[in-house]
């Protein structure tokens, strides 16, 4: 079943594939982001309630969506790395962690920028904000755990275990925080219920969501390839590539 995947367990093949992926997805991401942002920020209609400040959603929403998505893929990669003992997947977990952390930080930052004019405050202990903040700490934990080992391989495996534990915990954290919020401050904050969004606003948003995904893939592949080169730096194929 996995026969067609087997060649890619070889670092050299994996390097070539990820560089090819990176070359393919990077332009798509850049063009998509340009189109989406220009369309969203300049041509899409203004929100009737929030006027122009709602335009930040074209950055906020994709970052927030993929901050969760990246964690999910990181957890799955970590699980597979532990179960099938695939070293390359361990490297991919570490390739993903800082990118996910960056997405989470962007989502938090743009969210608080958005919150200031809309809610009148930079920060509220709202369910989504809280679970996003905890997600950021989980990302940082994965990376800090990796850094705290002298031996890279052990550190990578430990990071995988933590990623898997985090993945089990993310739904629990999410729902408990939601429950906490409704318990404390039910109706006082009218959360942004997903408005039945107009198609003219939906399209640039969708474009941005997809291109942020492409950006994630491209960055991950690039980081993965670089890490691979570092891990295999004593091998012949690396020297050949670097010598070119």
């Amino acid at each position: 079943m996995f026969r067609w995947l087997h060649p890619y367990a070889k670092p050299e093949k994996a390097y070539q594939l990820s560089m090819a992926f990176q070359k393919f997805f990077m332009p798509i991401a850049i063009i998509g982001l340009l189109v989406g942002c220009v369309w969203g920020l300049m041509f899409a209609p203004t929100d009737y309630q929030q006027s122009d400040s709602a335009r930040i959603m074209y950055i906020h929403v994709p970052a927030a969506i993929w901050s969760m998505g990246v964690y999910m893929s990181m957890g799955i990669a970590g699980f597979c790395a532990l179960v099938w003992q695939i070293r390359l997947l361990e490297i991919s977990v570490l390739a993903m962690a800082p990118i996910g952390a960056a997405f989470t930080a962007i989502a938090l930052f743009t969210g608080s920028l958005w919150g200031k004019p809309m809610w009148g405050t930079w920060w509220v202990w709202d369910a989504r904000l809280t679970s996003e903040l905890i997600l950021l700490f989980l990302y940082l934990g994965v990376f800090a755990l990796f850094q705290s080992f002298d031996d890279k391989r052990t550190g990578a495996k430990a990071a995988c275990i933590l990623a898997v534990i985090g993945m089990v915990n993310v739904p629990i954290i999410h729902y408990s925080v939601e429950w906490w919020n409704t318990l404390h401050q039910g109706a006082s904050i009218t959360k942004l219920d997903k408005p039945s969004i107009a198609p003219s606003m939906l399209w640039p948003l969708l474009i941005n969501i997809v291109s942020v995904l492409c950006l994630f893939i491209a960055f991950t592949c690039y980081r993965f390839a670089t890490e691979l080169l570092r891990a295999e730096s004593h091998r012949k194929w690396v020297l050949e590539i670097l010598g070119k």
């Binding site: 755990l145 052990t154 954290i173 408990s176």
Partner: protein, 224 residues
């Protein structure tokens, strides 16, 4: 040796070792008391405010003193090779870890829960509220011991890992804190508080089921 015999024996061993090195397990207790004392001094001796904060202080003190105690959970046995011998002995790894979690809970968590009685005089907490707090602390400390076992096992061979413990443990503990807080809130308004307590119990049981597997995995990893 049968599994149940091994289980009892290994808990007994941990308790005996602790009886020899009394200062080891008294330190977290002292730390717990010190944290509790810090709050009235920094906030001021206003009884009403202190009573409002008391349950939160109990929880914060518990977590902070766990951060002190947890790094020692496997460290000694890891360094002198006992743990490696046990892992080679053919006893199920999760059984070894579970017995260690339970003896850790008996040695480090239970004394803290008992010491939380100091909140009653120090922070003018009502005694019936304290009884609810003890329930949340009992269940929550099981959860903390389980998650802490994983974190402590992950970090057992790393020399730089001291500060990382907090980053690993605290985000994972948020659900427990939320449900404990919900129970305390309900109790303060004399509403029924069984629901959050049961959820907390469910979380504790769930983590006691899953955590030994992850801990054993993490320890094996560190033995290389």
């Amino acid at each position: 040796m049968s599994f149940s015999k091994f289980f009892v024996h290994s808990i007994k061993r941990d308790l005996q070792i602790a009886a020899i090195q009394k200062h080891e397990f008294l330190l977290p207790v002292l730390f717990f008391i010190l944290v509790i004392v810090l709050f009235p001094i920094t906030v001021g001796p206003d009884g009403k405010l202190l009573a409002r904060l008391a349950s939160a202080v109990g929880w914060i003190a518990l977590i902070l003193s766990m951060l002190i105690a947890l790094p020692r959970m496997f460290a000694e046995d890891y360094e002198n090779g006992w743990l490696e011998q046990l892992f080679l002995s053919g006893t199920p790894h999760s059984l070894i870890v579970t017995s260690r979690i339970i003896s850790f809970w008996l040695l480090y968590c239970l004394p803290l829960v008992i010491c939380s009685f100091l909140l009653v005089p120090f922070m003018s907490m009502e005694i019936n509220l304290w009884s609810v707090l003890v329930q949340t602390l009992l269940l929550g400390s099981i959860l903390t011991a389980c998650l802490g076992a994983v974190a402590s096992a992950l970090l057992v061979s790393s020399r730089k890992g001291g500060g990382v413990m907090a980053l690993l443990l605290i985000p994972l503990l948020i659900p427990a804190l939320i449900f404990a807080g919900a129970a305390m809130d309900a109790a303060q308004q004399s509403l029924p508080y069984t629901a959050p307590i049961t959820i907390l119990a469910a979380l504790a049981v769930f983590s006691l089921t899953i955590a030994p597997l992850a801990t054993a995995q993490a320890l094996k990893l560190n033995m290389g």
